[in-house]
Amino acid sequence: MKRFIRNGSVEAMLEMEVRGGLVNASISGNQLAPRNHSLSVSEVEPGVYSVLAGTRAMEVRVTKAREGWTVHIAGRQFTIDVVDPREASACGKGFGRQGRQEIVSPMPGKVVRVLVEEGSAVEEGQGLIVVEAMKMQNEMKAPKAGKVLALAARAGASVTAGEVLVTLE
């Protein structure tokens, strides 16, 4: 089994063979020799794996992230994307910026104030909208100067994390 792996901004190729509870894997990139690992991997609870690398023991937790997977090991956290090479081309997302910028809510919450109007010009760093959750208010600021193209949220509305609040141009 081959998979492309993206760990933050770093990408690599993973070849993996699973036999019983044993996983033999090789990880390779452009600049280094492949690194080989032989791990005993056992799913002890849903999404929780007991991993033995030789005698070294680790507990690894995998949960779905907004994109890819969040992996916890020994208090450290990684965000990892796993892509089947056969599907890789379908995953090539556009990275280009079309000059349009969407301001999304960083958390679920309630819109408490809208500080701009549709069509108004804004400066970089200007406050656009205030979202409140858990007694904490978060002011979304304009990442660059521009014009408010669309205003998706009204004061008092509930929003989810990742929901588009304001579109700037």
Partner: protein
Amino acid sequence: MRPPKFRKVLVANRGEIAVRVIRALRELGIASVAVYSDTDRDSLAVRMANEAVHLGAAASSESYLAIEKIIGAAQRTGAQAIHPGYGFLSENADFAEACERAGIVFIGPPAAAIRKLGSKTAARRLAIAAGAPVVPGVQKPVLDLDDARHIAAEISYPVILKAAAGGGGKGMRRVNTEGELEAGLRDASSEAERSFKSSEVYIEKLVTKPRHIEIQILGDRDGHVIHLGERECSLQRRHQKVVEECPSPVMLACPELRHAMGEAALRVARAAGYYNAGTCEFLVDEHRNFYFLEMNTRLQVEHPVTELVTGLDLVHWQLRIAAGESLALQQEDIHFRGSAIECRVYAEDPEQNYMPSPGKILGLKEPSGPGIRIDSGVYPGWTVPMDYDPLLAKLAVWAEDRPSAIRRMLRAVREYSVTGIQTNLRLFQEILEDTHFDAGLLHTGFLDEMMARRGRGEEQFEMHDIAAIVAAFHVARQQPQRTAPSAERTSLWRSAGRTEVMR
């Protein structure tokens, strides 16, 4: 000891403190009544109480702040007393009076004491009269910008603006120079207005690198008051406590300070006619001068560290005193054993400026074993609502001395796992491993300084590789491989030259 006289008590709160009080009630053989808002129907408190009464919508004004609904719930269920927890109505003198009028015991101090201490300016005057030292400043509300300019210049910058009705860091602004005063005053006033429905703000000298240390007191209706030592609460983010401990490291170096601060706290409590549990908050400067700040007329979030070190159960005592019992303890009966630390587990992301993270808890693994105490209000599968405070649980440890307690807490934090939402658990690991923390060099700016001085640790190949392998393994288990693999195509990533070695 024999259980106190109440047969049934209503808990007018939610989250971990409601669970804490319900546990105490169970231990004393008293029936418990929980109250809940729409979003809290499935809360742990409702699951654990003997009875539960619905209050209304999620908004606190419709539920946990709705005085008449809560008193109605107590009357309907026949509860003889109400425990207000902390926050919500716990420091509301009107509520305490409404309870009394309804013939229900308010488990806390008398309404008159709450009023005397409720405004910081009034509390400050009371403390000065009682002979407790206070931070230089002017104890009357600021009239306008000119007045503020005048006062600030007199006590000299830096100064701090504080909401008179405030608490929890709301309505507070540091002002370093006269140029910052106007904006600071505006922000503090409007935040105070929003949070406490009073824009009243006053000005104090800013004590630099202060420790925030508080003294727990306990008194009965006959005027017998003792103190249970201090809690060091200097580790704060956004003026809210994150890590607390007892003893304070400063007391280890200077044990006389506990006695002096304890006496000051008792003078304030006696002057206010206080009874039940309460806490005097102080700033302690680098020369170990201490200044009374305010008195919290309720149980504190961080009361477990005092319980662990003194062996007393504060909620049991609150109930006994409210039921009319005398406090059978003298000051010399209070012994301090070992060292306790508490970490407040919040649903927030310290990496994103403590962004709140409500949502569904998918997995929860709590530490246990020797010296661990957990006061939690959540369980796996529970959706942490966005409507209230982000406190999920309090993790406290006890050990024979401070270094052992730090290592035990580190062990516990590593055992703790919450998935589905972000928590600040990882931050504790950094704090506990910090050399300044280890040395006990604490002050209220500690956490911001620590965050500023942190560097990214050396990353190891192996951890990254294992994370990647287990993630791929997990994905493969969830989406079983297709039986007929199609011809492999070159990755867009690879062809674009973006495949690099994993660092």
